[in-house]
Symmetry: C2
Subunit: 322 residues, 2 copies
């Protein structure tokens, strides 16, 4: 039997929160493994971050690549894989990916949120082939074309405003009477001549040959179904924490977010969480980074206590010896 | 009678937390005034920040200058003054500086911590003239000289290690039996031949003509007092939140830190807090920045509720319209 790889801390997720946690745990001399499906997470979807303190304007890929480089410079290991199960307890956790098992004394959950899907026929088949969950990323591909946007709230409004500048025609499909969002944005959207509002309706099927060609739209009030020819469909239903695989490990709130306290401790000893996966209501890169640092220092103090050593304060200073 | 200047939000403190809060409140379209004694706060004391995500290595002045520039680019106003009193209530606060009064609906407390002082004769007189609260900043001035460091914990240990490389002789004065700190650092320090450990002792007076020339040291066990000739004295007793002027406004903990919840709300409606002034146990620039953003978004949602408007989620996107 192969021996599991053992680390002081395993961080699940390699975006702003997870990479910042790794900068801090590795810098404190803790052996650190980061397991992420990709590096950067949702920051990758943004070309124009203006509110990360220290950078006037930077794209998400460049910024999170810097985080990654910093984490590696302090000897954090980063692997690309999917964590399927975490079990164990206080000081002895086992983390499973499809190919391997790892052990650690500490877990930091930082795997963010995932776009909510439609759950209709054709969705899986057309992902990346006309179906997108990110207007910011994929919108520019639909210049002069016809697209549908599914959603009733802010994400959908933003996507519609953006796409109406690019596409020839935009169907805004909402299962409510009316869409909601920022007042100025809504007024702006409603003034656009190439946007068709389709209310009280759900997309029931996505169809096409190699790529999306049409969608079926069901009016939930009348029960009538209609087919719309579209070149692309954007699902903008917001985000959800995919936390089912940790529901026996830590307490979740009613939205399935991991509940943390101010110091990023979860309900389980030795398990910390940071970033969008937590019940912090604000999704901001700098907040995720701050929580990543907080989780790492809480984890360090926890490990020191396990070893019977005195805990340290964090401070501004840069000390290689810590 | 002159009319007070009125803002949506007044931020007290212009370091990492306050400036980040200003970036966010101003960007959300809230009229924002930042009142700080200086820009940068304790980050100014650091020449080598390696753990702010996004920068491998940057000095505190350069980094917080970037924060300041960003806050101003979103039309936050910044003035250099000292807040002496905050009174008022929910939605109508009055902020007093020695020269002026301001009003706001929201207050964000972000004025950090201040080095703890000795409280002995000569201290005020020799500040900046041989007496320093920051070895990192002023240590290099004492090459080849004799210095005393006052303190028993990590800050003092760090200062002693640094100064023993620079100065000819270092007195490490502690009111305890022994100093405490990081194990490696302590071992390192104890091996240094130019460090004299003076335990169970307090500095009782600082003396000199134009600059520090000697200190009186009282052994608290024996009661004997001795005079040491020194060129400089470094007070490294840690930091304290100077929160007396807000003690009637918000709840403080036993260390006089402002108690906040995860969303940076204090016990008083309309008053938020971020950074080192809060009861967050970790002092890190990125944690202060994350809290600044959190306080700002909590404040924004609070103001929206006051106006009876729907609140928004924060998200990664950069939207000028928000």
């Amino acid at each position: 039997m192969q021996k599991d790889d053992v680390y002081d801390v395993i961080i699940v997720g390699a975006a702003a929160a997870g990479l910042t946690a790794a900068i801090y745990t590795a810098r404190q001399g803790m052996s650190t493994l980061v397991i992420g499906k990709d590096v950067g997470g949702q920051a990758l979807l943004t070309n124009d971050i203006q509110n990360y303190p220290g950078y006037d304007n930077i794209d998400g890929f460049t910024l999170t690549s810097k985080f990654e480089k910093q984490a590696k410079s302090f000897n954090a290991e980063i692997i690309y894989d999917e964590v399927q199960k975490i079990h164990g307890e206080d000081g002895n956790f086992k983390v499973e990916t499809p190919s391997k098992q790892f052990r650690s004394q500490i877990i930091i959950l930082a795997f963010g949120k995932t776009p909510r899907d439609l759950g209709v026929p054709g969705e899986d088949r057309f992902k990346g082939r006309g179906l997108s969950y990110c207007a910011t990323c994929d919108g520019p591909l639909y210049r002069g074309k016809t697209v549908a946007i599914v959603g009733s709230a802010e994400y959908a409004v933003d996507a519609a405003v953006m796409l109406s500048d690019i596409a020839e025609k935009v169907y805004q499909i909402s299962n409510r009477d009316r869409i909601v969002g920022d007042g100025d944005m809504l007024t702006n959207l409603e003034s656009r001549k190439n946007v068709v509002f389709v209310s009280n309706s759900n997309v029931s099927e996505i169809m096409g040959d190699q790529t999306v060609e049409s969608i079926k739209v069901l009016n939930v009030k009348s029960g009538s179904e209609e087919e719309y020819n579209v070149d692309g469909i954007f699902v903008e239903l917001g985000y959800v924490a995919m936390t089912d695989f940790v529901k026996d490990l830590v307490n979740l709130n009613e939205r399935k977010d991991v509940i943390v306290d101010k110091e990023c401790r979860t309900s389980r000893k030795g398990v910390f969480a940071a970033g969008d996966v937590t019940d912090m209501p604000f999704k901001q890169l700098v907040i995720s980074a701050g929580q990543g640092s907080t989780a790492a220092l809480s984890a360090y103090n926890y490990l020191q206590r396990l070893k019977g050593k005195s805990i340290i304060r964090g401070d501004w200073k840069s000390k290689k010896s810590k």
